[in-house]
């Protein structure tokens, strides 16, 4: 029988008695489960080739190999599920232990009028000075060690809850979905299934910021397996590894490199990477285009603080245009994305202005960023608070009623 074990368990035991109990129970269950899987494997007889007709030798061996392989795969799946369940147990026992700092609470309350609750609190009401976004927020743990936030847009969709999934450190992992309040409440296991539509935003957003506020890197990564290295001296992205661990090198020059900042923003294929690129169309539907090769150029507008990047595919069709403005300290204060419709039937069409404008306001101490999101009509549609004082920036999304409407099922 297999003995199930989990690395790091001994460390957790002393701190979290509840976790210890859960994991002990689980260990017993998992041992039995994996033991049962072993029995399936054991039922597979060892193949004695001496008793096999040579004429049928290859066929028999091939079949036997496949049978063994299938049995092995069932067992491997069990192991994967066991790992997943352990992550849940660890998370549920530790999630409540992560306090928000008094400083963060104070800033939020004083500067933008947020009543800020601890994880697990049921209500979270906020409003933005420029608009009237009133939301209720709840924080709960997710099965893989991350958290999700529940938002209710009390004006537009009072009966719906928008769930957004965050990873450890506040990294936005998935724009999840809108569910009814009843569904959200009845989900006792904190195991709300991920929406199929989340693929619309199947990338991670990771924002890093140095304590001095002089370096700013924003990355949109397609999956958590994607890694990159970044050369701080040359301000260039050096390498990217895809999900399979294959190394891809990106070489692109930034014409007029800014002294203090570099912005890198890519989804799969967005910056010189061959691949499939998912984009939202003007009609709200999502489309996929395939980019075999893409060129990106950067242009200064005479003011060192403003840059625009133009992306075109191999045939010169416009793919994306992005304008970025910096303040005197070199921090990003505004970004405007111009996206094309990606219709290959009309290669000469200019990309239409179809979506977002973001503005960024920094707190006096430079430790916190308020990001505002505007729709194409210039209306405030969402807001995001980004803590940048920790080694791993913690992002708190505080309201996006526009999205709540889009994700209503």
């Amino acid at each position: 029988m297999n003995k199930f074990s989990h690395e790091g368990l001994s460390q957790e035991k002393s701190t979290y008695p509840e976790l210890e109990r859960k994991l002990t129970d689980f260990q017993k269950f998992a041992s039995e489960a994996l033991g049962s899987e072993n029995e399936v494997l054991a039922e597979e007889p060892v193949l004695d080739l001496s008793k096999v007709d040579p004429a049928k030798h290859e066929k028999t061996r091939g079949r036997h190999r496949k049978k063994t392989l299938i049995s092995q795969v069932w067992k491997d799946i069990s192991k994967a599920c066991a790992g997943l369940a352990v992550a849940v147990a660890v998370n549920s026992a530790t999630a409540q232990e992560i306090p928000k700092t008094a400083e963060q609470n104070k800033f939020l309350q004083e500067s933008i009028g947020i009543k800020y609750g601890a994880p697990g609190d049921t209500t979270f009401t906020t409003y933005d000075r420029m608009g009237e976004i009133i939301l209720e927020k709840r924080t709960q743990s997710w099965e893989d060690g991350s958290s999700y936030y529940q938002f209710t847009d009390e004006r537009a969709n009072p009966d719906k809850v928008l769930l957004k999934k965050y990873g450890i450190g506040g990294i936005l992992k998935h724009n999840v979905r809108s569910v009814s309040k009843e569904t959200a409440r009845s989900d006792k296991n904190n195991n709300v299934p991920v929406s199929e539509s989340q693929n619309e935003e199947n990338y991670l957003r990771q924002i890093k910021h140095s304590s001095t506020g002089q370096e700013y890197v924003e990355e949109d990564l397609k999956t958590s397996h994607t890694t990159n290295s970044f050369d701080k001296k040359t301000k260039k992205l050096k390498t990217i590894r895809d999900e399979s661990g294959h190394k891809k090198t990106i070489e692109f020059s930034v014409d007029g490199t800014h002294s203090g900042n570099v912005i890198i923003r890519f989804k799969d294929g967005a910056v010189g990477l061959p691949g499939t690129f998912t984009e939202k169309r003007a009609d709200g539907k999502w489309d996929k285009i395939e980019i075999v090769k893409q060129n990106q150029t950067w242009k200064k507008d005479g003011n060192d603080k403003n840059f625009t990047s133009y992306s075109r595919d191999e045939k010169g069709w416009p793919v994306m245009e992005e304008s970025i403005k910096f303040n005197d300290q070199g921090l990003v204060i505004e970004r405007v994305n111009v996206r094309g419709e990606f219709t290959k039937q009309f290669p000469d069409s200019h990309p239409r202005l179809i979506d977002e404008r973001y503005t960024y306001d920094y707190s006096p101490d430079g430790k916190l960023v308020t990001k505002r999101i505007y729709d194409r009509d210039g209306r405030l549609s969402g807001m995001e608070i980004l803590f940048v004082d920790a080694p791993e920036c913690h992002g708190l999304y505080v309201g996006i009623p526009q999205e709540a409407q889009e994700f209503v099922q």
Binding site: D25, F26, F29, A30, E32, A33, S36, E37, V40, E43, E44, R63, K66, K67, L69, I70, S71, Q72, V73, W74, D76, I77, S78, K79, A80, C81, A82, G83, L84, A85, V88, E143, N189, N191, V194, E196, Q198, N199, N202, T223, S224, H225, D242, E243, S244, H246
Partner: protein, 86 residues
């Protein structure tokens, strides 16, 4: 060595299945992954059974439901036998 992306594109998964497959393989060590890839490479039709198995088993593990797991393992045995006869 079978490439993840190549395999996924060959399997022509729906978005939902792709998500499930990604979640499953994320939890697997490289050697286990290769066994799975090898199986799917030779028997692409197995993907549906594998994803169903993962979803059911995940639920059983999460809720520590012994009966559900027993049932799943029974199905696994039947599937192996069925495959042997085909």
């Amino acid at each position: 060595m079978i490439n993840y992306n190549d395999l996924v594109s060959r399997l022509k998964l729906s978005d939902n299945d792709k998500k499930g497959f990604e979640e499953l393989t994320e939890r697997m060590p490289e050697t286990d992954k290769q066994s799975l890839f090898e199986l799917l490479d030779s028997e692409p039709s197995m993907i549906k059974s594998i994803l169903d198995n993962f979803r059911q088993k995940k639920q059983a593990f999460m809720s520590q439901d012994k009966n559900a797991l027993k049932k799943i393992i029974q199905q696994e045995k039947q599937m192996v036998s069925k495959f042997a006869e085909s």
